[in-house]
Amino acid sequence: MTSAVKDGTAPELRGFREVQRLAYDCAEAVAAQLRPGVTERDAARMQREWLRRRGVRDWFHLPFAWFGDRTAFTGFKVPLQFFPTNRKLEPGMPFILDMAPVYKGFTADIGYSGCLGPSPLHDKLMADLEAHRELILREVRERRSLRDIYEDVERLMVRQGYANRHRAYPFGVIAHKVDRVAEHRWSPQVFGFGTQSLKGLVSDALHGHRDGWSPLWSPYRFSDHPPRPGLWAVEPHLGFRGTGAKFEEILVVTDSRDPEQSAFWLDDDLPHVRRWAEEKVAA
């Protein structure tokens, strides 16, 4: 993996880029179909079906959908609350679609935030996410410890007036490693997570534990190491009272000495990035 990643155009990266695009296309297609009265379960099913129709057979995790104050994980105490509920979408409500399909053996994990109708508050949150994307890339290139970067992201969020909502994810992770997944005819899921992908993550965790690194990017001591080469699905998640917004996309980390090549976002043609570019043009 490491040697292939060095070259940004490696065929392997193309595979990851393809599935990430596919996932974002799915998010945009489903978001366009959301109407008042649609439930989180409906939205999750729409994502699942859309991707299945295009050949997705396995998942890192099944699609999630969060509406309203659930986008800010209000009152989330146990992991079961992440699963889609019968919460209905209403005009003006924010929503987040989050999915991690496996396609041709490549994994993506994406998050897409939107709002049903105009919302200046949601626009503000989305605009403020840009600084986080820049900060993460810059500090990864500087080879700061993942735990330090995590704390800097959190500090920036606090300065912006937000709460760090990725702290509510399992282990409080802001990112986790993704990898190729062996294709099997039968790939069952446990609690919404694909067993094949989990196997990869667990084996990474075991190896990493020996070598002093972790495939989970968290605020804890086990993440107190420089960025490990590989693909990281990064998901900074802002919460502001009843509204949450995030993006999630793959950051490629290599062991190249060239700072530009040592870390880069897998794809810069994604909905949130285009949105920021358009805003700049409009301004």
């Binding site: 508050l121 503000k124 300065r159 007036g161 709460a163 502001f240 009272r241």
Partner: protein, 590 residues
Amino acid sequence: MNLSGARERRVRTGGIELCVAELGDERRPTVVLVHGYPDSKEVWSDVAVRLAEHWHVVLYDVRGHGRSTAPKPLRGGFTLEKLTDDFLAVADAVSPDRPVHVVGHDWGSVQSWEFATVKRTEGRIASFTSMSGPSLDHFGHWIKRRMTRPTPRRVGQLLGQGAKSWYVYMLHTPVLPELAWRGPLGKRWPRILERMEKVPAGDYPTSSLPDDAAHGAWLYRDNIRYRLRRPRADAYAHVPVQLITPTGDAFLSETLYDELEHWVPQLVRRSLPAKHWVPRTRPDQLASWISEFVTANEDARHEGRPVRDTAARGAYAERFGGQLVLVTGAAGGIGRATAFAFAEAGARVVAVDRDGEGAARTAEMALLIGAPAAWAETVDVSDEQAMEELAEKVAAECGIVDVLVNNAGIGLSGPFLETTSEDWKNVLDVNLWGVIHGCRIFGRQMAERGQGGHIVNTASAAAYQPSRALPAYSTSKAAVLMLSECLRAELAERSIGVSAICPGIVNTNITSTTHFAGADETEERRLQQRTSRLYGLRNYPPEKVADAILKAVVRNQAVVPVTPEARGARLLSRISPGVLRGVARLKPPL
């Protein structure tokens, strides 16, 4: 007549002559103010003057009151039907070609409910603001529901309101009320109002009070029994209604309005910590709410769209909508969360901090979540002159502060023997002097306005929990706690509440800027990081403290420990202070 600049005219209707006063520009929309019992139109004088800056304000003496003539005979002359005739006559005289906005207090509100719910006034009223006077029909149904299906709570409500209505039974006795009002009661009434209701002394009530009160007894006798026994089933409001409920009203309980949404399709609720005579004691707040409501309805009428909900939707929106709240230390942590919580409740927010960028950010976000206006000010609370200037600027540009939150504070840790006098000075300057300046300067403005208010001081659980790690910080916070309690005692007579908040261990960035006395730079940095991490692990969100602050203001609580550990320590400090002293000796695990 103490309505300076008022134009007076007389309107004849049904053998009666009504005294009508007008203020303000006649081309502007008309707001009609209807007075209660035992008042005359002068009860509105403070509100009317304020409203006249924007609207055409009309006041009239209800028949038999003030300078209007009384019906003959009195019996049967005060029915709601006749009062409706009077109102329509006045409305036709002062605003023949467009509907008027009605505002009623006490019996003025009771009759205005009739205006707002009967067919024949449709199209003549644009909106109705009600205070301290329910619809007799709604009240009749309210009683019926509680009589036919009594639950312990409903029986309690019935008995509670029954007790508050003692004067209604008294007024039904023949002759005696008239004798009392024309005799000793009429003479003493101004003093009673001043003492019981804190109505400022002055030119109200007018000299016509004994006659007004004697005639007005027929308002009760002609309507109450009849309407409560046979309430109309179709008493639905055909106009948007703004309900203002004084929470300390001695005559009407808040539960009376529990099911009001059933009768009023477009209802905005407001609550005000005040007693019954709000037109005298809270003219600023009333004028601002009435103006806001009238504006919203006028805009909607012009644009031909339904009235937008004018009130914010957050918790406590009824109480804080449109109020002015100033928060110090608003660039982060508890201060910022508090500013946001008030913004969500629809308050106008002034965010003050020495970190101007952070304060600006708070103001910007506050606007996005419901504050009708928000300002940021860069001020160091320990700088007396800067605070004086801030107070002047705020008073001139935004008005007198309704709620002041003295929250700014800095941390200081380390043993007493290592704490330099410079350290002491720094921490006392911000934590104690900052609060003193705030209370003194803004508190004085509040007191001088004489219309109530609230001051919240952020103390700390360290105020009553001794510790070897925080001698200077704890001392400064203990002083804030005591200051708050003393101030509360002093300001109670001016209806200004004072609360001290003792949060406990809350996840804010106070730990990352805390100075550790006696530690060198690297050690200090390590300690800051370590405490920040510990506070992060505890992870008690500042939003919960903000909620506690809003609740403390609504309930006017004196001392509010917030986190469980703060509450536990407070309990221990009272039942077993020795244990706390023992804990104080432990070295913190840093």
